[in-house]
C-alpha cells in the first residue's frame, strides 16, 4: 500500500516551483513542512465566511468561529490520543509549550537540588527552559548519553533517573532521526517517581502517536512541521496536572473573574490561553490533520521508512566512507531525518552547491548544540523526508552531493 506521491505532490502548490531550471526538491520538512491546498483553502474559507474572535461574541459568526476553533482543538486532541479536548491547550509552538511547563509546573514543583533529566539529543527548545529554571531555582540537570549507533545509551538509565522529578525527552531526534522508546522510558521514569514530558514535535508529523499509550504526563507539538500553519502549537497534559498548575500568561480568556483585588482562573485548557489565540491557524491545523488522517499515519510512516532505506543505501553506494551519516544505520525506530557530513567540506558549502540545483537542505547545528559537541562537529547538512518526497528527490540530492564533492575537492597536487 505505497503512497501515490505524484497525486500527493499535486496537493502542494509550492512543490511545483522551479529554480535555476531545476525542479524544486524540498528536503527540509524537519524544519518546517510545506502546506497542502486544503489547509490554505480551509484558512481562506474560514476568514471569508466565519471569522470573528472566539469565546466572546454572541452573534452568529462569533458562535460559528468558536465552534470551529473548538472543533480544531478536538481534532488535534484526537490525533494524539488525548482522553478529552480539555487536556489540550493551544500555544504558539512547541517551544512555548515547553516554556509553559517549565514556568508553571516547574516553578511549582521543583526546588533547589531537584533533578530534571534530559538527553543529549534534545532540541534547544527542550534544554534552554530547563537551564533557565536551573539558573533561577538551582535545579540539577542530568543527561542521558547517546551510543555509537546514535541511540540513547540506557546502560545507566536507572541511576540517572534515581531521585529525578522530571524526564524531558524527545520522541524523535530532529538531527539523528532516532525514534526513542517512549513507553519504556516512561515506565523507567515512573518507577523512579519522575514525571515525563515528551517532545513530540518531530514524531507527531511522521508517526502514529498516542499519548495515553505512552502514559506520559506532558506532550508538546507544533503545527508547522505537520503541514499546518506556523504560529500555533499545543501542550497536552493529563487533566489533573493542568488543573493543579498555575496559569502561565495572564490576560483575557484565561480568567473566570477579575476584581480590583485579584482574579480567578478559567477552566482548563483556557486557563493557559491568555489573549486572543491563533484562531485561523487552529482551523488550518485541523485541516492539516484531516489531510494526514486521510492518508493515514501508518502509511505516511511506512513510506518514509522505505524512502529512508533507499536514501541510506544510495548515499552509501555513492560515497561510502567519504560521507559520514550521523544517525542509526537501520530503519528500525528511525525516522526520515538524515544528517551527513563530508569530513573536509563544511555543511554550509554543501548546502550552497545544492541550492544551485534547487535542492533544499538545512545546514547548521539544528538547534542541538549540546549534541553537536558530543559528536565533535560544528554542523551537519540535514535532508529530511516527508510524505511528498520520492526517490527522484533523493536522486537529485545525490547528484548535487557529487557536484559539491567535486567542487570542494582538495587538489592532491
Amino acid at each position: 500500500m505505497s503512497l501515490d506521491i505524484a497525486r500527493i505532490r499535486a496537493d502542494f502548490p509550492l512543490l511545483a516551483q522551479e529554480h535555476n531550471g531545476h525542479r524544486l526538491v524540498y528536503l527540509d520538512s524537519a524544519s518546517s513542512a510545506q502546506k497542502p491546498q486544503s489547509v490554505m483553502h480551509a484558512m481562506d474559507e474560514f476568514m471569508e465566511h466565519s471569522y470573528a474572535n472566539v469565546h466572546r461574541g454572541v452573534y452568529a459568526i462569533a458562535e460559528a468561529a468558536t465552534a470551529r476553533f473548538e472543533a480544531a482543538r478536538a481534532t488535534v486532541a484526537g490525533f494524539i490520543g488525548a482522553r478529552e479536548s480539555a487536556e489540550l491547550a493551544f500555544t504558539r509552538n512547541a517551544t512555548e509549550a515547553i516554556n509553559l511547563v517549565a514556568h508553571s509546573w516547574g516553578r511549582t514543583n521543583l526546588a533547589a537540588g531537584d533533578v530534571v533529566v534530559l538527553t543529549e539529543m534534545e532540541h534547544h527548545a527542550n534544554i534552554v527552559p530547563w537551564h533557565m529554571l536551573a539558573a533561577e531555582r538551582g535545579i540539577e540537570l542530568r543527561w542521558i548519553p547517546i551510543d555509537a549507533e546514535y541511540r540513547l545509551d540506557l546502560t545507566n538509565l536507572d541511576e540517572t533517573l534515581s531521585g529525578a522529578k522530571l524526564l524531558a525527552v524527545t520522541a524523535m531526534s530532529n538531527v539523528l532521526g532516532t525514534v526513542n522508546d517512549i513507553p519504556m522510558l516512561v515506565r523507567a521514569a515512573r518507577s523512579a517517581g519522575a514525571h515525563v514530558l515528551v517532545d513530540a514535535s518531530q514524531a507527531a508529523p511522521h508517526l502514529p502517536i498516542d499519548v495515553q499509550a505512552w502514559d506520559a504526563d506532558f506532550a508538546v507539538l507544533t503545527a508547522h512541521k505537520m503541514l499546518g500553519p506556523s504560529g500555533i502549537g499545543a501542550l497536552w497534559a493529563r487533566r489533573e496536572l493542568l488543573e493543579a498548575m498555575p496559569p502561565f500568561l495572564g490576560g483575557g480568556e484565561m480568567i473566570r473573574d477579575v476584581r480590583k483585588d485579584g482574579f480567578t482562573t478559567n477552566d482548563v485548557p483556557w486557563k493557559f490561553e491568555a489573549g486572543t489565540p491563533a484562531i485561523t491557524e487552529a482551523i488550518g491545523w485541523g485541516a492539516a490533520i484531516d489531510y494526514l488522517q486521510g492518508i493515514g499515519m501508518d502509511a505516511v510512516h511506512e513510506h518514509e521508512v522505505e524512502l529512508t532505506r533507499y536514501a541510506l543505501d544510495a548515499l552509501d553506494a555513492e560515497f561510502g566512507e567519504r560521507l559520514t551519516i550521523y544517525g542509526p544505520s537501520t530503519t528500525d525506530a528511525r525516522g526520515g531525518v538524515i544528517s551527513f557530513l563530508f569530513p573536509a567540506i563544511h555543511a554550509h558549502d554543501v548546502s550552497q552547491v545544492l541550492d544551485e540545483e534547487a535542492v533544499c537542505v538545512r545546514a547548521g547545528h539544528h538547534c542541538a548544540k549540546p549534541l553537536m559537541r558530543v559528536l565533535q562537529i560544528p554542523a551537519t547538512s540535514r535532508a529530511s523526508l516527508y510524505l511528498y518526497n520520492d526517490t527522484d528527490d533523493v536522486d537529485a540530492l545525490i547528484v548535487g552531493l557529487t557536484h559539491a564533492e567535486k567542487f570542494f575537492a582538495v587538489d592532491p597536487t
Binding site: N20, H346, A347, H348, D349, Q352, V353, E356, A363, G364, H365, K369, M372, P378, A379, F407, F408, V410, D411
Partner: protein, 159 residues
Amino acid sequence: MAGLEDLYREIILDHYRAPRNRGELEVPPAHQVEGFNPLCGDEVILYLDVENGMVSDVKIAGQGCSISQASTSMMSAAVKGRSVAEARTITRAFKALMSIHESKIGGDDVDATADDLAGVRLGDLEALQGVVKFPVRIKCATLAWNTLVQGLDEIESSH
C-alpha cells in the same frame, strides 16, 4: 542570478584549501580572542602579537565554512606586519565592501565615506565581494574581522 562562481572565486578556494597563518602563538605575550557565528557554529580563534603599535604576528585556529576560513586567512595576510591603525583601516574598508546588506557590524559603525577609504587597496580581498549577493553568508565573511577588531580593542584597552 548570482552563480556559485560569484561566491567561490578561485582565490577564495585557494585560501580555503591552503589557509595562511594557521597555528597558535604563546599566550602571553600574544593575545587570544575568539569569535562565534551562532547561526552556523563557525568559530575563529585569533592569536595576535602586537608590539609598538604593529601587528607583528597573527595565527589562526578554529573551524568554519570555506567563506569564513578564506576570509580569516586573507585577513591574516592583509594585516600581518601592518600597524594597528592600518589594520583598522583595512577592516573598515572590508566591512564597507560587505555593508550592502549589513550596515552595522559588531557594534562599530561602518559609515566610512568613500573619501575616508579611497586610498585603501583591498587587493585579493575584493574577491569576497561576491558574498554580498548571498546575504546569509555575509556573517561568515565578516566573522574574522569582527573578531580582529575585538582583539585589537582588548589589547589597546589593557595598555
